[in-house]
Symmetry: D4
Subunit: 241 residues, 8 copies
Amino acid sequence: MSLSHLETQLRSVLAATAVTADVQIDMDRERRCGFPEVVYGPGKTPAAIRDVFLKQQTAGQNSFATRVTVEQAEFVMRDLPTAIHNPVARTLTQRNRDPEIQGRVIVVSAGTSDRPIAEEALETCRWMGCETDLVLDIGVAGPQRLLAQRHRLAHGDAIVVVAGMEGALPSVVAGWVSVPVIAVPTSVGYGAHLGGIAPLLGMLNSCAANVAVVNIDAGFKGGYLASLIARKPGDATKTAG
Amino acid sequence: MSLSHLETQLRSVLAATAVTADVQIDMDRERRCGFPEVVYGPGKTPAAIRDVFLKQQTAGQNSFATRVTVEQAEFVMRDLPTAIHNPVARTLTQRNRDPEIQGRVIVVSAGTSDRPIAEEALETCRWMGCETDLVLDIGVAGPQRLLAQRHRLAHGDAIVVVAGMEGALPSVVAGWVSVPVIAVPTSVGYGAHLGGIAPLLGMLNSCAANVAVVNIDAGFKGGYLASLIARKPGDATKTAG
Amino acid sequence: MSLSHLETQLRSVLAATAVTADVQIDMDRERRCGFPEVVYGPGKTPAAIRDVFLKQQTAGQNSFATRVTVEQAEFVMRDLPTAIHNPVARTLTQRNRDPEIQGRVIVVSAGTSDRPIAEEALETCRWMGCETDLVLDIGVAGPQRLLAQRHRLAHGDAIVVVAGMEGALPSVVAGWVSVPVIAVPTSVGYGAHLGGIAPLLGMLNSCAANVAVVNIDAGFKGGYLASLIARKPGDATKTAG
Amino acid sequence: MSLSHLETQLRSVLAATAVTADVQIDMDRERRCGFPEVVYGPGKTPAAIRDVFLKQQTAGQNSFATRVTVEQAEFVMRDLPTAIHNPVARTLTQRNRDPEIQGRVIVVSAGTSDRPIAEEALETCRWMGCETDLVLDIGVAGPQRLLAQRHRLAHGDAIVVVAGMEGALPSVVAGWVSVPVIAVPTSVGYGAHLGGIAPLLGMLNSCAANVAVVNIDAGFKGGYLASLIARKPGDATKTAG
Amino acid sequence: MSLSHLETQLRSVLAATAVTADVQIDMDRERRCGFPEVVYGPGKTPAAIRDVFLKQQTAGQNSFATRVTVEQAEFVMRDLPTAIHNPVARTLTQRNRDPEIQGRVIVVSAGTSDRPIAEEALETCRWMGCETDLVLDIGVAGPQRLLAQRHRLAHGDAIVVVAGMEGALPSVVAGWVSVPVIAVPTSVGYGAHLGGIAPLLGMLNSCAANVAVVNIDAGFKGGYLASLIARKPGDATKTAG
Amino acid sequence: MSLSHLETQLRSVLAATAVTADVQIDMDRERRCGFPEVVYGPGKTPAAIRDVFLKQQTAGQNSFATRVTVEQAEFVMRDLPTAIHNPVARTLTQRNRDPEIQGRVIVVSAGTSDRPIAEEALETCRWMGCETDLVLDIGVAGPQRLLAQRHRLAHGDAIVVVAGMEGALPSVVAGWVSVPVIAVPTSVGYGAHLGGIAPLLGMLNSCAANVAVVNIDAGFKGGYLASLIARKPGDATKTAG
Amino acid sequence: MSLSHLETQLRSVLAATAVTADVQIDMDRERRCGFPEVVYGPGKTPAAIRDVFLKQQTAGQNSFATRVTVEQAEFVMRDLPTAIHNPVARTLTQRNRDPEIQGRVIVVSAGTSDRPIAEEALETCRWMGCETDLVLDIGVAGPQRLLAQRHRLAHGDAIVVVAGMEGALPSVVAGWVSVPVIAVPTSVGYGAHLGGIAPLLGMLNSCAANVAVVNIDAGFKGGYLASLIARKPGDATKTAG
Amino acid sequence: MSLSHLETQLRSVLAATAVTADVQIDMDRERRCGFPEVVYGPGKTPAAIRDVFLKQQTAGQNSFATRVTVEQAEFVMRDLPTAIHNPVARTLTQRNRDPEIQGRVIVVSAGTSDRPIAEEALETCRWMGCETDLVLDIGVAGPQRLLAQRHRLAHGDAIVVVAGMEGALPSVVAGWVSVPVIAVPTSVGYGAHLGGIAPLLGMLNSCAANVAVVNIDAGFKGGYLASLIARKPGDATKTAG
């Protein structure tokens, strides 16, 4: 790559950083990484989130925020009434143009208590334009449940497995499929669970080769990676970096 | 229990402590706990182990030592040529009378590398008079292996599951059986395995109700507990305490 | 085991998963593992718990829920007025048929503060049809208390020891008996107690061979394993898996 | 999926487990998961590894072993002289048929000391039929190195970043690309590095959404996942599970 | 140093400890260490803080308190109405004489949520008489932001980098400058972040040689050290100890 | 205390620091703290240890070194042939005057493997002029052993309990006596023992009020503290500080 | 000791356990260990604490409770109006006979925030009949404070040092005195303080030989041990065990 | 900063990366950061180190390598006979031009065993052109040693304190001076020292405001930072980044 090419790229990058009162927005993110910048709610004022959403709307980009409170969501929706708030997933989605639907992600959840994290993963996948399927309440200790649902696993381009307790489910799922499994440990448990450290360690030590791991309770990241994998990236995207 | 009864018991206990040069032996252990004292090899001189074995032979008790080195085993076998050394299990067994065979323990091992710990569990069960079955190389990521061997699990009174890596196997086994499962985490693994802490935490957080856990690499303890469970204790034993 | 036998089993398993709005119930659990599925309260709606209990009532199975809040319990009891709520143990029990009483479990508790966990273990044992005895407030630093109660320990088929602080009690109890001891560390303590990690590590390193360990505060699991051990399993149960 | 279909699948699975003296081989793995079973060297006898390779050769499958010692490699190569041993990567590869080349994986390495893990990832990718590119010695503290090599990153379908020390490199790389980044922390470091825990935690907390993590020093797993992602799976593979 | 010199110093030190009802104040600190004693708010009564401020006012010393609550600040300001309370930084500053302005510290903050800690550092620098510049919202995953602001980094005598998440920013900043970087990890994050342990470990393992680290959330200490570095100490200060 | 008094003391302190080539010796320690400085062997050259011993001999002080290797001990004994080397305790003792015998310390050891640490404690007590008694091989799981030896515990002014495994012995001993118990955890154990962390945590959480703890394997410190306690300090010593 | 002597002792022990509704009281503790049983407040009902106090009053024993809430204290004081509640120390003291004053304990506290723990230690010492002195606000970073107060340290038979933050104060104090120092780490701190683990580790690694450690925030235990040490035990006490 | 300026800088950076067979060298580092790149020995071949030294010699830059083995050093010195190897510090220094001497760093070491790390810090300071002073064997428990050497501390522009054990020395030193203190924890210790974690945590929690911390055993980094601080940076250096 020539230096003049580099200069051109940097110039466009510098131009694309939109500064609001509180927060810098990376308006160039979609060109560079394939998707617009996502807002992480905690610690931000409702106005800051709204400003990002409005800025992205003006630019024709879709908006997505995670870990938003009810107060944050309701504040933003006063100005953006078509935004969709999923209170279980704690997400806020604003579509300013329809994504091209491509790829299919299966989200598997071990127990009822892991549902909010599974929903966060699902909403992320939908925002990124993937088809999704949610397979709930598949525990390791009830092996017939997995067998009964196994055919649904076979139709995904990537699988997100959300599990607390001992975190054994990703290994068990991974043994039946040929696609990448993104394991999301959750903080659901008690005692020697250590707030999710137990399933995190378990998943990192998975004897299945096709299991990668993200942070505890990181439903968004699990969904994001699975969607990146599930979508078949075209040349334009690949060479954008 | 009257105090005179207590006095009688304490008198017998005090009389039953055999002191050799190096080590005290609890000759009353068999009466009180059902089995003679077991020798833990590390840090003991070969002579000390031999002295315990000889003392127990004189008293008509069976002997068992764990974690013995080849040197320790060979030294003892000079005086006790009928003792049996299992170098994989690192155990030394001396039978001075035949145990009553009772109960059946299945030992399940996740991987080839866990075999020494599985063998230690097996030797313990045999010394305690249980029938045993060893089911090797049943990994979580190869689910058909477990399905293929599942009928063998159904014939145990207790099951010992030895597993390193993420330690998911006990949960998976426990979901198919109605008997107690004693989980033995092993130090086989690397990185975030933390010398066995990962499977230990996983097993403690097992979503299966019938899983109890012992220390990392504690094949002896796993076998001991499973054998206690598998044997149907008579009244005499139960009231001995 | 022939494949046709396997097919038959899987068919019955698949048929036995009852799906309510929120939660899947494993109606086949009793046949496979000896006892019906137990409900873990946290994260479930009161309606979900009630639905499981009603489904099990229809099937003639007994119901048991742990870690239930007062709100959950009262909601369920509107439809199932004969259910029994133990607010100290945080359990909810519904008997739809009388269990066969078999086996005896002794629950030993180190201090007053460990009582809720001890009660959870006791309620579990009762639901599973075991006789029980509760030995309270036996601390290691008051050795005469253990001596005074020792005869009660001698009449159990299995013993559950619930202890916080340094968690030394299981080792001390185990030295006097010949039956398996299930140790339940509790989160009662402060400072270097680390929320129960201190007694958990202590119990895992117990020098007594007949001590197995479950998760911190896992009174249910302690009671479940002790009851499995205390009951003498018949052939039907053993071959069900 | 009908039960008869399930029966058919299980039958083929049961038939496909080849048992050698020491080790069970999952001959059905390639059909089910897309690639044959890979041998993990530690704890296995040289003969066991050779037997697996021979069995796979007979079946026309390609063979791959990781963490092999020089002794293990040389023993196997006596019977399989075309096997290729990479002593830096500690891998042994035997090709019995040519793979279809598909997809491109970039492996980025932070420092010279991380090279063995990077090589393990590379060999895995090659065995799986991916084109590869190795970008060496790109440290965070020398930012111009990354800028100078950035165009090479743009041509991968997936990127593996191998890094010890503080493990910041995956975040930095991920900010420039749109494809998934598999982060492999290494045990290269000292003191508060804690054998790789420091970069592992850093990578799990990456502020970049497209970073997933595998175990410390798990070059094989990093390469395996990246290759699965880079290859465009056909329908046959996807529905095989 | 002669003993008579030592005696003289100790005499002045002993005389300079002002005892209020609650707290001892080290009135000699400014002479010995260059700056008056700073009040750490938590656990102190509002009256105790006020008494220290009044005592320092009488002695012509400037006052500074960190981690003060609104209640503490308002109580003190009744008697010291010119004190300045920064509620985001949780600091209270009272100037009784103007400091000589000397040196320039740049404070860099990774994310919006880290702002309170960055503000604490800034207020500390100002109280110590340094010029300051705050560079906000420079994340590692948005590399162009750092490039766009890089010229501002070049004008500091020392840099404070405040970062949560994986804590990679100090390394990245340090690679572009020749002055010392004081890294302040924050507790902003979740899961495997471990309340700031993840970025703390990352920063300690920084591959950049010019990075030193202070405690998690220790904005005050970060600012204090950077200011000490930025100011060119005269001989009088240096020989005061 | 007047400043002139302070000056006098400091003058004597400054004069009493003897500098050898390698190491500074605190020749004033005995006056200030009651006993001469003790040499910690690791990392010191044999010559450095010898020099300290010779310097102390000239001053009429007794010498003591811990954790010495055989090489270090033999080197020193060439010049100080009356020094006594205890290879189990790894101590080297040189008496240049007879200590006044005062107080009695009981050292209790849980297992054979803890003996080196117990011996280190014993040698320390003897060097400090205490009578000693060693009670070996008193395990928690063999309760009769403690009962049988309990009368020996009653004759100590302080007790040192050395224990690995779960570290329960200090609590059990402390429940029978009225004197302070110094608990010394040892690194003897495996798995979840974590190199002594398990017994360390257990001892810190002891439910007995009269248990204080020192570092893992710190036999010297255990013996030192017990001896300080056992000896009845006269006024001269107390006011020396 | 003869068995008949043992029987006599056990008989008196068994007789001395007073059972109230909620709690067992060890009425023999004073004879055996020198002081009556102390009540640990958390988890106990106010009525249970009152019952213990009344039982001890009847027996002419002094009462002491730690970690009591205001509610618990006020409830007990309705029946025992002469009990003294120290709300800072969270202790409740009832004197039913005057203790013999003997020995002197100095309690040293590093910072204002550590005062509650220091007060708990002080109240314990007073209840046990020791003279006390409280030296407040002696930090390591203000070295002149320690020098100014050093003469007060010289008059103690034992010293309790209460310190949070880095916990360096016990080492510094111990270097100036010849009596045992009991170090009490506190949970006062933040970030890498880990709730007291940082000062706990520091104190365990103290380079001073005369420092023993108790649990984090264990003011009671610190005071108890220091008082045991400070009092010169008579023969009667020593042989009571 | 204009983009054309940025382009110019990047061009020079790209040109300045010298690639040898094994290792990339950042020849622009001196211009950008003030000092040439330093070689970290572990994992590098002797030839790679030599090549970097030769390349830097050609460019007139000074060379420095840390953690070199005797083998590495001797290999390099065959081609660079004027290089100086300090085997205690494990450093290799090659001066190709004389540095301007500026600033003074005091290195303080707690114990004899910490000397290698202290020497590494010293060699680093010398290579960077600072005057140095080494104050050895200043322990916290021997307070007079610090008092006796305190005047030497007063003449430094920055202080490096190297300490193992509990790591209290930096706080104690920092209380006497007005310049920044860089604390270097060492792995010297045992048991609860945890390989240096204990002093690391202690130093991070130092109650002194002027203490920053680097990694365990990071003598190089401690010396590097102190030297950066001690030297008064001119404008050229500051604006180079």
